[in-house]
């Protein structure tokens, strides 16, 4: 029987594959890698591409959009990204997040946090709603 190792492919959102395999081919950033059992401990970044593995003599494959692969002699773990990652894309996301925050802040004056005042306002609003309800009822009675 061929020697085997365990392959785990997980992303932050879900587990994509877990099982026994004979061989793994991964798209490393420095070039494709072929991993067979008893490989030396290795950690590498992956680029977007096809992750192929041989299980029971059959080749199967998964698409990964990048990530990190950790290799131990009998366990291979692929920490897959859920989306294509690139520095400029991340930068854009960061800028968007800041812009949204700024826009949200401009909407209102940053006043001092005053629970009592807020509470009082809330009570006043509640009273108004109650009043409107009562008026509605009186009018609807005829």
């Amino acid at each position: 029987m061929a020697m085997t190792m365990h392959l785990n492919v997980v992303s932050a959102e879900e587990e994509l594959f877990s099982g026994t395999v004979e061989e793994v081919f991964a798209p490393g950033t420095m070039g494709d890698l072929g991993i067979i059992p008893r490989h030396a401990q290795l950690v590498t970044t992956l680029k977007a591409g096809e992750l192929r593995y041989v299980t029971n003599g059959h080749m199967a494959s998964l698409f990964v959009s990048g990530g990190i692969m950790e290799v131990q002699p009998h366990v291979v773990t692929v920490l897959a990204d859920t989306a294509i990652r690139a520095d400029d894309l991340d930068e854009k996301a960061a800028e968007d997040a800041m812009e949204r925050a700024e826009a949200a802040l401009e909407g209102k004056d940053p006043e001092d946090l005053n629970y009592e005042a807020l509470q009082a306002e809330l009570e006043a609003a509640k009273a108004q709603i109650q009043m409107i309800h009562n008026i509605g009822k009186t009018l609807g009675r005829h």
Binding site: A12, G28, T82, A94, A97, A101, L105, L113, G140
Partner: protein, 285 residues
């Protein structure tokens, strides 16, 4: 109160009860899915932690800044995770109380605070402190891709030395009935959070240790925050379920009480009418 008034009130409470009942059931089914997602995200974070632990224990010439404690803390970053929608009991209020308290404690020590938020409720609550980054409208099925912005802002601030610590505040899903606010220090990574390993080895790194570790650390922090957001969704759903259940129960007992008042009032009216008729007949004779 007149009979008609009571009747309208009963009707309006009945329709409210229908709505809260429906919301309760929707929240219950969403909660189930949210907890599943929470479970699904665990293997990734667990595996990450293992690899990070191996690296931290290894003999590396490169120590990542996230693993080094800074002595002098002048400014801390807070990531606060809340819901987008209300009607979920005291979930957000309790969380914000904790966050306000911690921020006040820092300020007392003369430490400034930078805040990034997830969720509209937190954005509104922390506006007055100034929010540096936000992501709202993540929905019931949050995706990591939508969360990257604020994380990147905070981690960049840490790299540049603008903040010396990064803390996340979110709700912990204890069980279906209990959710408690929790604050976790993300960066620097506390060594006790890492796993104890009886053995260790040095990896081969490709392209080189620095690049791999940088990529890994960033993803590790992201996965922790993703978990926080997903867990908070589960908390939101279970909290809403409980809130809506008690609202439904309250509506039920209110209807019962009003029904009693209504029946009494109707009986009183009938009795009065009879006695009037009897009295009228007696007067005629």
């Amino acid at each position: 109160m007149g009979l008609k008034e009571i009747r309208t009130q009963i009707k309006s409470i009945q329709s409210t009860k229908k709505i809260t009942k429906a919301m309760e059931m929707v929240a219950a089914s969403k909660m189930r899915r949210a907890t599943e997602r929470m479970q699904a995200s665990r293997p990734y974070a667990h595996k990450m932690r293992e690899v990070v632990s191996h690296m931290a224990k290894g003999h590396l010439e490169y120590k990542h800044p996230y693993t080094l404690e800074r002595d002098n803390v002048k400014r801390v970053g807070y990531i606060i995770i809340s819901t987008d929608r209300g009607l979920c009991g005291g979930l957000n209020t309790n969380l914000f109380k904790k966050a306000f308290q911690e921020i006040a404690d820092w300020k007392e020590q003369g430490v400034e605070v930078d805040i990034a938020v997830y969720g509209g409720k937190a954005l509104n609550a922390f506006k007055r402190y100034g929010v540096v980054a936000e992501a709202t409208g993540l929905g019931d099925k949050p995706e990591l891709a939508d969360m990257i912005g604020p994380i990147k802002v905070m981690l960049d601030a840490y790299d540049e030395g603008k903040i010396d610590r990064l803390i996340m505040v979110e709700n912990e899903f204890v069980n279906n009935m209990t959710q408690t606010p929790r604050s976790t220090q993300l960066v620097p990574i506390k060594s006790e959070e890492l796993e104890e390993l009886d053995y260790h080895w040095d990896y081969l790194y490709e392209p080189d240790s620095k690049e791999v570790i940088d990529a890994l650390m960033q993803r590790y922090i992201e996965s922790l925050i993703y978990q926080g957001v997903v867990e908070n969704v589960a908390c939101e759903m279970s909290s809403r379920m409980i809130a809506m259940k008690s609202a439904t129960d309250n509506a039920g007992s209110m209807i019962d009480k009003l029904q009693l008042v209504y029946n009494k009032a109707r009986q009183a009216a009938i009795t009065q009418e009879i006695s009037e008729i009897v009295a009228g007949a007696a007067a005629v004779e």
